[in-house]
Symmetry: C4
Subunit: 231 residues, 4 copies
Amino acid sequence: MTSTLARRAGAELVGTAFLLMAVIGSGIAAVRLSPDDTGLQLLQNSVVTGAALVALILALQPVSAAFNPVVTLVERAFGSLGNRETAALLAAQVAGGMLGAVLANLMFDLDAVSIATRDRSGGGLWLAEAVATFGLVLVIFGGLRSGRPETVAFAVGGYITAAYWFTSSTSFANPAVTLARMLSDTFTGIAPSSVAMFVLMQLVGAGLAAIVVRALYPEAARSLPVERSAR
Amino acid sequence: MTSTLARRAGAELVGTAFLLMAVIGSGIAAVRLSPDDTGLQLLQNSVVTGAALVALILALQPVSAAFNPVVTLVERAFGSLGNRETAALLAAQVAGGMLGAVLANLMFDLDAVSIATRDRSGGGLWLAEAVATFGLVLVIFGGLRSGRPETVAFAVGGYITAAYWFTSSTSFANPAVTLARMLSDTFTGIAPSSVAMFVLMQLVGAGLAAIVVRALYPEAARSLPVERSAR
Amino acid sequence: MTSTLARRAGAELVGTAFLLMAVIGSGIAAVRLSPDDTGLQLLQNSVVTGAALVALILALQPVSAAFNPVVTLVERAFGSLGNRETAALLAAQVAGGMLGAVLANLMFDLDAVSIATRDRSGGGLWLAEAVATFGLVLVIFGGLRSGRPETVAFAVGGYITAAYWFTSSTSFANPAVTLARMLSDTFTGIAPSSVAMFVLMQLVGAGLAAIVVRALYPEAARSLPVERSAR
Amino acid sequence: MTSTLARRAGAELVGTAFLLMAVIGSGIAAVRLSPDDTGLQLLQNSVVTGAALVALILALQPVSAAFNPVVTLVERAFGSLGNRETAALLAAQVAGGMLGAVLANLMFDLDAVSIATRDRSGGGLWLAEAVATFGLVLVIFGGLRSGRPETVAFAVGGYITAAYWFTSSTSFANPAVTLARMLSDTFTGIAPSSVAMFVLMQLVGAGLAAIVVRALYPEAARSLPVERSAR
């Protein structure tokens, strides 16, 4: 692995780990501290996740800040990543997500891993995951392909805070996040049996979004990948 | 329709659809999750709508990001849009809003369409819609006419989050949003019989704001329309 | 009055009116919608006021966006405003604040004016007003004197949201706001008998801050007044 | 002390004082106003702290805006500060934090100083402090070393709002903050017996982060210290 690719994979690992800590950790804290109002729990969870994404993308974007396999796959489809780079970044995202789940559990004095039991399935939820991922990909590549990568952190932070609420699935919209959320049987967990359909719908939503992005922004302002585009 | 106009109409359709999903979807979720406190519901609804607007305007502004017929009409009045373009964008906004309402309903396992029954009328509310739209137009064109389109996403997001609260009507401030909110008999719905006065007051507020904007910013920093001004 | 000064006074009037609508209107809504938790009311009120300030300063800063007599007086002390301009802007701020209070009352179907009865006095509160205004002046002029006026909207929005909470007075920090809040006997009202000490402490805090600002930023990056510095 | 160093120490003192007022003051207000929901208290506390950090860093960064001994120590390790400067800034941060704690107490009509009695210890919390400080240092120096200091205020504000929730310790992540929070026996207080381990874990987290930052950003975009890098 080249030094540059190692740095990029490292940024994806660290960033995705913190993203999962934000998602899972704030979910645990929300349920402990506001036990009587699920809406207040979700408000805490969604504001925290959005705020963490602003910080993480701002901090890591000049190296690599997708934190999401579907984003990396769309970049591959757009030709700004090669196969070897794509594989390394995907692996880093999945590993980072799992690391984050474990750290969140440990910080709150839970077992390092507990398999989630919360079933998340049904037509409304599956539609919601496709819609949620469609919007996320639109928001990210709208900024990137118009040559304004400095807007992406704020767009993603705002979008995810909102999508937790306006999609019935609470907008996982990220296969690495979905996999890692199997590892904590807490507020934000997802039962393994619900994962495949979530990931499938995320891929569908991302694929549709890539078509729309290419139609809306037929010429990319820069041919650089996300990782380099902030400079 | 030229390719450019098609892209612009497409961005208005997609963006307005997501705006309506944010408004209606988060309203449904808020009532389900925080059933005991209307204020908490409105906090969730208003933060989500503002956050979604930041994301959507950042993502789509280089193509087109009015999402609101009164904004497009003020652009027409300022001479930055022709009649044919104006008609296409208005149609896309109305269609997009309705699409968003339907998607929101479906994601939450409701009927695709249910006509809202919530009456919203009275002198205070009508004044509020005029004030709300006045402020929204001021905020948008203050940024555009001073040559700082990159500020508009944050200004609109902040403004709408606030105006949900400081106007008694919860600040619809948008005819496409008003029409679409007829199609979901949920927290954010509006009965058809209340729509005409809301839209009328929105037009009054926007018209007054256009006069004030022209007085405050007598020379537009750029003559480009919203759609192109972000570059 | 020159055309430029008329525009600047107009921007102060409109902006301060919307600021007061945000403060008073959201306070009325908060009490009606979340009657059981004063903290939730203040969260709503503070987030709304901060969000509105971001929007209003972004929209009006190229013309004039102090919305606060102590800010205008510090500009006068720093030599970037003449006496005639200062007087016109102060008058516009006070008039705009009162207009905003009346509009807020009317939107919520209250009498146009009701004199507030809420006593706000005591050593802790007076200290708090001096601290709050000190911080506000520091935050505004830190951005302006370092030549980064585009940061001021976000700094002020963040500061005021926070200062509602960390000062025991809920941070009026603005004589025009203080005067106007006499005119609504609601959540954010202040009894006339409490006004003089609040304004006095605001002037003390602002004066101390002006000294500190000059020490920290001995050379202003630009000699332009707030009104012009955004361009 | 040179004039420049005096200004920098002054900015650290004032900024850290306001940071501690934000932390402690909003904690006092939250408990008084929302006595029945600890989660709502933490939401108020975390949003306020994040918003205050955005404002304070934007206002003071061109002079000095670390407000945190571990940040200053990492700068020393990276060679952008000398020993004398480091010592002066650390002293200013500690003194400013204590001043802020006293002012917060006085504004809320409490004794100027009351020693906190709240025990904060245990493996989960200690891990959390290391994680929290690791992330904070990553976020700050990610922005600085990539030559984008103007992003740091938003990244830190977002990060701290989030980290209050996703770390079980509520993310002190700052030795000056930790010391000062001994001086107020209120919501955000920490018993003196818990301080040493918190500070130790903060130093561990910061040290690890410095290694990662250097790996991710091997060449600093600018050799300037935080204090000067905003220009």
